[in-house]
Symmetry: C3
Subunit: 131 residues, 3 copies
């Protein structure tokens, strides 16, 4: 259900780091938001170095934007953002000063997966898509 | 006004499928959200296969994220997500289990097109940008 | 803290225009949202021309999507979107009819930078990450 997009300047992450980071984001999200791992999408968008700016100058941040269903407790979403941030810095070696994690949301009823409207947080068990 | 981003692993969609899917998303959005077709943007972000993960493993989903103005009835947004999802699977041949559609929103007053602040849903007729 | 993604068809913006636009978005955002320039991220996502559609036909828009912390006054966010739009058209030469700016948000507590949860708008001075 969730989608994480990790945006970097090319060369910031090795293939092995990307795979490891995708796995860890999946694990952390699955645990905190109670979603089966198989529903967690993680993609990497690597841009030419001259297309990434921080403070108006070329930079090399690791920008992770996630989308999840609205309605998870705010405290859990904060915990999720902190956990993803810590994992990203630890696995990638990018200093934490250059790691930004943002979790966005919209109503479960504004999203469809496997042909079915997503369940509200906490109502996953009855979801047809999980059948 | 709206922007749809279709993210896939490279090779998932042919050029003909992309064009056809862009056309159908445009038609469906225009009809349900009452926006002239010429204001509907659809872009495709194709990533290297090794940069797309589902459940922590390389995968080949079709991830469609749309943005629209806040204030459309939720029931209509749900209908929109279902229609885009059905069209995406039908046109692309990607099994519906691998198709995710998410509609995000923000206030019309947080967006500008053609130099003008976007109209609230239902107030399009008086919009200066439509002149 | 904020992230701006500028999406175009390849060839729409020269390297010099991208750099200049990144600088101006940074300046405008910093001034209106009271964020130090060093925290403003701007990235450019250039897609093959055949992957960008407007109204169901290949097109060449300049689509700028920004994310900022929720809680800024709506009037200021509208002013920000107008200023970014004007700067984008002026600097890039893309006619304003083809420039779309969308500002999205989520709670500051749903985002982490430099290992710290982001401060609410107006509470930046006490933020640990700014230390």
């Amino acid at each position: 259900m969730p989608v994480y997009t990790c945006t970097t300047a090319a060369g910031t992450l090795t293939p092995a780091v990307k795979r490891s980071l995708a796995g860890e984001i999946t694990r952390v999200h699955s645990e905190i938001n109670h979603v089966p791992p198989g529903y967690v999408n993680v993609v990497f968008s690597e841009l030419p170095r001259e297309d990434v700016y921080v403070g108006g100058e070329p930079g090399a941040p690791l920008l992770i934007t996630g989308w999840a269903r609205r309605g998870h407790p705010q405290r859990e979403t904060t915990r999720l953002a902190l956990a993803v941030s810590a994992a990203a810095s630890r696995i990638s070696g990018v200093p934490r000063d250059r790691v930004l994690v943002v979790i966005q949301d919209s109503p479960a009823r504004s999203a469809v997966e496997a042909g079915h409207v997503l369940p509200e947080p906490g109502e996953e068990a009855s979801w047809q898509g999980a059948g």
